[in-house]
């Protein structure tokens, strides 16, 4: 009797952790520099395609391909940041939205050109496709690993933000950029590194997402919406907020699709609109 509910909770939580990986970088970017980056999921898509190419095309083991997805996305994003984003830090919302939509459109077309618009199946080793039974519940190994990776990353991120010098600099820049500059913190460099880290995490999320949600060129737009929802609900620049929002949205999305399929896709939009109207700066937002 209990097990279907727990099963839905488990799947929802795993999905939420995927959303968390995809969104945490966006949350920090938006919170830190107030830059509306709609191309965030294009970097996630890049990570996904890197993973697929390495695993399927070159026979790499899945867990060796994931760090590569992280690195390729992070390095590419630094290139974009230096060449394009940097010019628009002080620009209006509209210019930022337009530039990053432009990058996303281009990325989608390039992905369609290289990989066609078909879904890319990932050839996983068979042990990742199995499931284990815990207290009468069948839990898919892949989802367990996904949750484990996300929890480790969350712990590392929170620890790094709260207990390292660089973390203190990021927090200072988020809280009060002018003051941080006045204290001699190189906010631009801090932002570039944070941006690369966030895009790298998105790339990692993209690599991990293929098994759960598939990968095709429309990924960059489909998951952009979810990422924006998580970020705006969780509050800008808050890792705990992003974590909570991702978990809640992941569980409610899966539960909604499972129990009330006719409400299906628009439940998540309704939740977002009402939450935003209630608290425009997000659940954990400070500003």
């Amino acid at each position: 009797m209990l097990s279907p509910v727990v099963g839905v909770l488990f799947d929802g939580f795993a999905y939420g952790m995927l959303l968390f990986l995809l969104s945490v970088g966006q949350s920090v970017t938006l919170g830190l520099m107030n830059f509306i980056n709609l191309a965030h999921c294009a970097f996630a898509m890049l990570g996904g395609y890197v993973t697929v190419t390495l695993v399927n095309g070159h026979g790499w083991p899945f867990f060796a391909a994931l760090p590569c997805a992280f690195i390729v996305s992070a390095v590419t994003s630094i290139g974009f940041e230096r060449a394009l984003y940097r010019r628009l830090y002080r620009a209006s919302d509209l210019d930022q939205v337009l530039l990053t939509i432009g990058i996303t459109f281009t990325a989608v077309a390039v992905a369609a050109y290289i990989f066609t618009t078909a879904q890319q199946p990932l050839q996983l080793p068979s042990y990742l496709r199995q499931s284990v039974e815990v207290l009468g519940l069948r839990l898919a190994i892949y989802r367990l690993i996904l949750i484990a990776i996300s929890l480790i990353i969350t712990c590392v991120l929170v620890a790094a933000l709260e207990h390292t010098r660089f973390g203190a600099q990021i927090r200072a820049a988020v809280d009060n950029e002018r003051m941080a500059r006045g204290l001699g913190i190189d906010v631009d460099r801090t932002f570039a590194i944070t941006f690369a880290l966030g895009s790298g995490l998105a790339g990692l999320g993209g690599g991990l997402a293929i098994e759960i949600v598939g990968l095709d060129p429309s990924f960059a737009f489909t998951y952009l919406v979810y990422v924006l929802i998580v970020v705006s609900v969780g509050g800008l620049g808050s890792i705990r907020g992003t974590f909570a929002a991702a978990a809640v949205l992941g569980i409610s999305d899966i539960a909604g699709k499972y129990y009330v399929p006719q409400l299906g896709a628009f439940l998540i939009y309704l939740v977002m609109i009402s939450l935003l109207m209630w608290r425009p700066t997000g659940l954990f937002g400070r500003r």
Binding site: V97, Y113, I229, F266
Partner: protein, 329 residues
């Protein structure tokens, strides 16, 4: 000399803005050229006129009031589906259908404007996006009404004024769309050069100062948002009536993004920005899609990056600068 005089009298200033310039008259005369020069492209021309009308409606909120909307296609879609449904239920008279669809889009716009006027920045962008996606999802799942993914079929538009048939060559379609565009443009022009239009630009430039001088910002935003929604509804209804079909992508995010591209390409905050941008965009799409239809988005993306980095005020804002630079040396 003229400037100081204008600043002394606000009436004179607004009047000097609303005077018709020769270039404007030439522009509208040029819209008649397709009838003579390119009779085979009249259906494309009517699509351009519709896109221009849609971009003009976005210009009112984005260019003049500074509301960044990523879900403006919602009102285009409401107009299109209303016009389609009215015709499917047996009333195919184009003008009354157009009026009713405008009313429908305007009503929904009025209802949502209460939410829109309360938010700024990211929350506003997210709300417009969320509202657009919600509506697209509703239309998708309400297949019994909208035809779902297959689109709305079986629309039949009667003769315009009981005389002109919407034929295969698009002569009537273009004349109809152009006439509607022209009348809407006249109204918009009047609106923008009124004190209300000036207040909108004030809100765009500085919300706080406008409240400080006692301007009812939220009421202004509600009014202009409703008007823009109604105008987008006209554009949608025109598309439904002239093509006699409505598909889900009339509501989709891509359409919201496309109209944004058109407007920004032409120059937001300028009356002719949307019109010029829509013309360039639609002609370019017609040309490029012949080569590689699925890679069209690549060119839109490159175009957007190009416009944002190099032509911040669009073609209409950038050309005078380029000309000035060319004349100087």
């Amino acid at each position: 000399m003229a400037l100081t005089q204008n600043l002394q009298s606000p009436q004179l200033y607004l009047q000097s803005l609303s005077r018709w310039r020769p270039a404007e008259i030439a522009f509208w005369l040029a819209t008649l050229l397709p009838f003579v020069l390119a009779p085979n492209y009249l259906s494309l021309a009517s699509q351009i006129a519709i896109a221009a009308l849609f971009a003009l409606s976005l210009d009112l909120i984005l260019g003049y009031a500074g509301i960044v909307s990523l879900g403006h296609a919602a009102f285009f879609g409401i107009g299109a589906y209303s016009a389609g449904l009215i015709s499917r239920f047996g009333w195919g008279e184009p003008l009354t259908g157009l009026l009713l669809s405008t009313l429908a889009a305007g009503l929904v716009g009025y209802a949502t404007s209460f939410i829109i006027a309360r938010f700024r920045h990211l929350a506003l962008i997210m709300l417009t996006l969320g509202f657009g996606l919600l509506l697209a999802e509703l239309a998708n799942s309400a297949g019994w009404l909208t035809g779902g993914i297959d689109g709305l079929q079986g629309i039949h538009t009667w003769r315009l004024l009981g005389l002109f048939n919407f034929g295969l060559f698009g002569t009537t379609a273009y004349a109809y769309a152009l006439a509607v565009l022209f009348f809407v443009f006249l109204g918009t022009r009047r609106l923008i050069h009124s004190p209300f239009g000036l207040a909108l630009r004030g809100i765009r430039e500085n919300w706080v100062r406008m409240s400080a001088i006692g301007a009812p910002n939220r009421a202004h935003i509600r009014t202009i948002y409703t008007i823009a929604a109604a105008l987008a509804g006209i554009a949608g209804a025109l598309l439904a009536q002239t093509t006699e079909t409505v598909s889900l992508d009339s509501l989709g995010f891509e359409r919201s993004a496309e109209v944004l591209v058109m407007l920004v390409l032409g120059g937001a905050g300028r009356l002719y920005g949307g019109l010029v941008g829509a013309t360039i965009f639609m002609v370019a799409r017609d040309q490029f899609s012949g080569i590689a239809p699925e890679y069209w988005y690549f060119w839109i993306g490159i175009l957007l990056i190009f416009v944002v980095i190099l032509l911040p005020n669009g073609v209409l804002g950038g050309l005078p600068n380029l000309i000035a630079r060319w004349r100087r040396p």
